[in-house]
C-alpha cells in the first residue's frame, strides 16, 4: 500500500482516468473475441525485413547514434522529412521548423506545455481522438466542441462559439483538428472548410494544430492540400507520424511549424525526455533512404484498401441496413457507425456476448455528452475472415436489440 503517495498525488493524478480503449482491451483478451476496438496497424503488413536491414546503420554509425542526440532530432532524418513532405507542406521545411518527437502524442503534450495555462480553451471536433484530449485535460485545458458532418468540422459555427467564449473572458489557445480520415469519424475536412478555418483562426489570433497521422494512407480520390500549406502567418502546427506509414513500434513522429513555437516545444522536450532515441531515428532514416518508405507505402495502402472494402462488403452482407448507417472512409483506419434507434452501450454488451468488440462513440466526446448512438470500428487490424465473422456477429446483436 502506498500510504505515502496517495495523499500527496497531484490534482491531475487524482483526476486522471486510463483510456477507455485500454479498458476495453481487457474484454478483448477473452478467447474467441473478435475486436474492432483498437486502432492498430496490421502486423502482416509491417516491412520487417526492410526495417531489419536498416538496423545495419548501427554498425556503421554506432558511435554517433548511440550517443545522446540533439533534442531537435536527428538531422539526416529532418532532411529527409523536409524533402519528402514538401508536396504536402507546399514547400521544403527548414530544420528549425521541424521537431522530431516520441510519437505524435508527444506533439500534443509539448504543444500544451507551450500554450496551455489552467482553464485555457482548446477548440476541437466533437467527437475527436481521445488520446489527444486526454493529454490536453492533464494540462487542465477546457474544451469548446464543434459538431462535424461528412465534410468534417462545421467551421461556420466557430465565430459565434469563439466570440461567446471571448466575451465571457475565456482564453482560447488553439484549434485541434484531424484533417484527413478523422479518428473516429473517418471523414475529411473539405478544402473549402480548411480555408475558412484558417481565416477564422487568423481573425481571432488562435492557432491550429493540424493532426494528420493518416493523411498518407489514402485509398481513393485526390489529396487535399494541408492547412499548413495555405498558411502564410505561421499559425499552423502540423503533426505527422511514422506509425501508420512504417510501424508504430518506431515511436517516431514529427511536427512542423513556426520556428519560435518549435523552439519552445524543444525546450520542454529537454525536460520531458531529452531527445527521441537516436538509434531508432537513425533506423527510420536508413529505411527511408534505402527507398523502402516509398516502395512499401503503396503496399500498405493497398492492403488497407482491401480491408476497408472487405468490411464494407461485410456490412452490406450482414447488417440490418434499416437500423444502422455509416460513411465510407477514403483512407485511414476507421468506420463510424450510427444506430439511431439503438443505444451503443446496450449494443456493446450484446456484441461482447457474441464475441465481437468495438469502442463506444461516447468515449470520443471530450465534454462527455454525445455519441450514445455511435461506435467506432477499426478495419485495419482484423484479418478478412475475422472481419466477416465479426460483422456477422454484430449484425445478429443489432437484430436482437431491434
Amino acid at each position: 500500500m502506498s500510504d505515502f503517495f496517495d495523499p500527496l498525488f497531484s490534482r491531475s493524478a487524482k483526476n486522471i482516468k486510463p483510456s477507455p480503449i485500454r479498458e476495453i482491451l481487457h474484454l478483448v483478451r477473452k478467447p474467441g473475441m473478435i475486436s474492432f476496438a483498437g486502432g492498430m496497424p496490421d502486423p502482416e503488413i509491417f516491412p520487417i525485413e526492410q526495417f531489419q536491414e536498416a538496423a545495419n546503420i548501427i554498425t556503421r554509425e554506432g558511435k554517433d547514434i548511440m550517443q545522446y542526440g540533439t533534442t531537435e532530432g536527428y538531422p539526416p532524418l529532418k532532411d529527409f522529412i523536409s524533402e519528402w513532405t514538401a508536396p504536402k507542406m507546399g514547400r521544403k521545411l527548414q530544420h528549425e521548423e521541424i521537431l522530431i518527437t516520441a510519437g505524435s502524442s508527444q506533439v500534443v503534450d509539448l504543444l500544451c506545455w507551450a500554450l496551455i495555462d489552467e482553464g485555457d480553451y482548446v477548440v476541437c471536433e466533437d467527437p475527436t481522438f481521445l488520446g489527444a484530449t486526454g493529454t490536453m485535460r492533464n494540462h487542465k485545458a477546457r474544451f469548446l466542441t464543434v459538431p462535424c458532418d461528412e465534410n468534417g468540422m462545421q467551421v461556420d459555427l466557430l465565430p459565434d462559439l469563439i466570440e461567446k467564449t471571448l466575451a465571457e473572458g475565456g482564453r482560447i489557445k488553439f484549434i485541434y483538428t484531424i484533417v484527413n480520415f478523422h479518428n473516429p469519424l473517418g471523414c475529411d475536412l473539405s478544402l473549402e472548410r480548411r480555408k475558412k478555418l484558417l481565416d477564422i483562426a487568423k481573425r481571432y489570433g488562435i492557432l491550429i494544430l493540424e493532426d494528420d497521422p493518416y493523411g498518407y494512407v489514402r485509398f481513393d480520390g485526390e489529396d487535399i492540400p494541408s492547412i499548413f500549406s495555405m498558411d502564410r502567418d505561421g499559425i499552423v502546427l502540423f503533426a505527422c507520424s511514422f506509425s501508420k506509414i512504417l510501424a508504430p513500434g518506431t515511436r517516431v513522429a514529427w511536427c512542423a511549424g513556426d520556428k519560435d513555437l518549435i523552439r519552445k516545444m524543444t525546450v520542454f522536450k529537454q525536460g520531458t525526455d531529452v531527445c527521441t532515441s537516436v538509434v531508432v531515428q537513425a533506423m527510420v532514416w536508413e529505411y527511408c533512404k534505402l527507398g523502402h518508405l516509398d516502395s512499401f507505402l503503396p503496399r500498405i495502402i493497398d492492403h488497407y484498401r482491401n480491408k476497408r472494402d472487405r468490411m464494407e462488403a461485410a456490412f452490406h452482407a450482414h447488417l440490418p441496413l434499416d437500423l444502422i448507417s455509416w460513411q465510407k472512409p477514403a483512407g485511414g483506419f476507421f468506420y463510424w457507425m450510427t444506430t439511431p434507434g439503438i443505444r451503443a452501450d446496450r449494443l456493446l454488451e450484446k456484441a461482447v456476448d457474441k464475441g465481437v468488440a468495438f469502442v463506444l462513440g461516447s468515449a470520443f466526446y471530450p465534454t462527455d455528452s454525445g455519441g450514445d448512438n455511435n461506435f467506432r470500428m477499426c478495419f485495419t487490424f482484423a484479418s478478412p475472415e475475422m472481419t466477416d465473422t465479426g460483422v456477422k456477429r454484430l449484425g445478429e446483436a443489432l437484430r436482437e436489440l431491434a
Binding site: 500510504d3 513500434g249 529537454q270 538509434v279
Partner: protein, 403 residues
C-alpha cells in the same frame, strides 16, 4: 517570426529556461575548444557490434516489436531488470513494480505529473541535477535545498527545514536525491545517512525519489544498498537508466516502486508518449540477454576510472591547490570544484579565452549558490586532452588570482 505564438504562450512557456549546457553549446563548438561541460559518455566505450547483434530479434519477432507496445514496457526486459537489479534493490521486484521509460529523464517528468501541483515543494540536494530541477520547475514546483558535503545530503538538517516549511503552510511532495556519484557534486550518500533519510521519510510521511543513473559505474569501494532496499513501506521510488551502462541513444530507463505509484506514472506515460519504442527496448533486452551487459560494463568502468585518475592527476599538476579543492568521486561522471576565492563566471570567461569549457556551479542550485563552483566532466575526453584542458584551466585560475 509570428507574434501570434508569443501572445498565446503559457506562463510556463514564458518562464521555461533552456539547459545552460545548451546555452554554451555554440561556445563549446568553437574550433580547438576542450569541453568538460557536457555529461556525455565516451563513444569509444559503446559496444556497437554487440548492440547491433540484437537487431536479429526484429526478424524473429518483428510483428510484435514493430507494433504499439504496452505502456508498462517490454515484459522480457522488465524480467531481466528484476533479476539484474535484485542485489541493489534487496529483492526481485515484481513486474507491476516497474515501469520502463524513455530515459530516466521521463521518470522526472512523470513524477512531476503524478505529484506536483503548482506551488508544491520538492526537497532537493543543493546542488542538484539540473534537468531534474527543470522538469519539476516546469510542473510548477518550488524547492527546499539541503546542503551536501562529501557524504551526500546533510540529512540532519531535514527536520528543521521540514518543520519550518510546514509551519509556513508549504506542501512538501517528495525528497529528491541522487545517491551515488552525485551530479554535479560527485559525492555518494553514506549508509548511515541513507538510513536516517528513510527514518525521516517515515516520520514526516514524505516519499523519497532515489535517482541512480550512475550507481553501476563504480570505480572504487563497495556498492552501497539502495534506499529502496531499506524501506519496507513502499515510500521510495527508484530510477535507473541504460544511458551510462550501455548507451544513451537507446533512451531506455526505468522506475521501480510501489505498484500504486507505478500505476499512476503509467497512466501519465500513456498520455505523454504512449510507450517507449518496443524496438529499442528489444535491442536493449537482446544485448542484456546475450550477456553483454555484464561482460562489457567492466570495460566502461575501467575506461572511466582511468579518465578520472587522469583528471585528478592533472588537477594536482596544474591547478593552484591552495585555492581549489574537490571530492574524489568513487564513480560516475563528474568532479565538482570548490574555489572559495574565485568567481566561477569570471573563471569561465577566462577559460573560454584559453579554449577550455566547464559548467559554472550556479545553475545547479535551486535557490542561489554555486558562485564558486565548477562541474568538470571526465568521461568524454581522452586523457591527453584532459591534461591539456586542465592545464589551460589552471592558467586561467592563476591569472584571476594574480588579478
Amino acid at each position: 517570426m509570428s507574434g501570434v505564438w508569443e501572445s498565446n504562450f503559457s506562463n510556463k512557456a514564458m518562464n521555461v529556461r533552456p539547459s545552460p549546457i545548451r546555452e554554451i553549446l555554440s561556445v563549446i563548438k568553437q574550433p580547438g575548444m576542450i569541453s568538460f561541460a557536457g555529461g556525455m559518455p565516451a563513444p569509444d566505450v559503446f559496444p556497437v557490434e554487440e548492440f547491433h547483434l540484437g537487431a536479429e530479434a526484429l526478424l524473429k519477432d518483428g510483428k510484435n516489436l514493430l507494433q504499439y507496445g504496452t505502456t508498462e514496457g517490454l515484459p522480457e526486459l522488465k524480467e531481466f531488470l528484476s533479476e539484474w537489479t535484485a542485489p541493489r534493490m534487496g529483492r526481485k521486484t515484481a513486474l507491476d513494480e516497474m515501469l520502463l521509460t524513455t530515459g530516466s529523464q521521463q521518470v522526472l517528468d512523470l513524477m512531476g505529473w503524478a505529484m506536483i501541483d503548482p506551488g508544491d515543494y520538492v526537497i532537493t540536494e543543493d546542488p542538484s541535477y539540473l534537468a531534474a530541477l527543470t522538469a519539476f520547475h516546469n510542473h510548477g514546483a518550488r524547492f527546499i535545498g539541503i546542503p551536501t558535503d562529501h557524504e551526500g545530503m546533510m540529512v540532519d538538517m531535514l527536520p528543521d527545514k521540514i518543520e519550518k516549511a510546514r509551519r509556513e503552510g508549504k506542501n512538501i511532495k517528495f525528497i529528491y536525491t541522487i545517491v551515488n556519484f552525485h551530479n554535479p557534486g560527485g559525492c555518494t550518500m553514506t549508509i548511515e545517512r541513507r538510513k536516517k533519510l528513510v527514518e525521516m521519510s517515515h516520520k514526516y510521511n514524505i516519499p523519497i525519489f532515489e535517482d541512480d543513473p550512475y550507481g553501476y559505474v563504480r570505480f572504487d569501494g563497495e556498492h552501497l544498498p539502495s534506499i529502496f532496499s531499506m524501506d519496507p513501506d513502499g515510500g521510495v521510488i527508484y530510477a535507473g537508466s541504460f544511458s551510462k551502462i550501455l548507451a544513451p541513444g537507446t533512451r531506455i530507463g526505468w522506475a521501480t516502486g510501489n505498484k500504486d505509484i507505478i500505476r499512476k506514472l503509467t497512466v501519465f506515460k500513456q498520455a505523454v508518449d504512449l510507450c517507449s519504442s518496443p524496438i529499442t527496448q528489444a535491442l536493449v533486452y537482446e544485448y542484456c540477454k546475450m550477456g553483454y551487459l555484464d561482460k562489457h560494463l567492466p570495460k566502461i568502468i575501467s575506461n572511466y576510472r582511468t579518465k578520472r585518475d587522469a583528471m585528478e592527476a592533472s588537477f594536482r599538476k596544474h591547478l593552484p591547490l591552495e585555492e581549489i579543492s574537490w571530492v574524489k568521486p568513487e564513480g560516475g561522471f563528474f568532479f565538482w570544484l570548490d574555489m572559495p576565492n574565485i568567481d566561477a563566471k569570471t573563471l569561465f570567461d577566462k577559460a573560454i579565452e584559453k579554449k577550455v569549457a566547464f559548467v559554472t556551479g550556479t545553475p545547479f542550485f535551486s535557490n542561489g549558490g554555486g558562485e564558486h563552483n565548477a562541474r568538470m566532466n571526465y568521461t568524454f575526453c581522452q586523457p591527453d586532452i584532459i591534461d591539456e584542458g586542465v592545464k589551460r584551466l589552471g592558467e586561467a585560475a592563476r591569472e584571476i588570482l594574480e588579478g
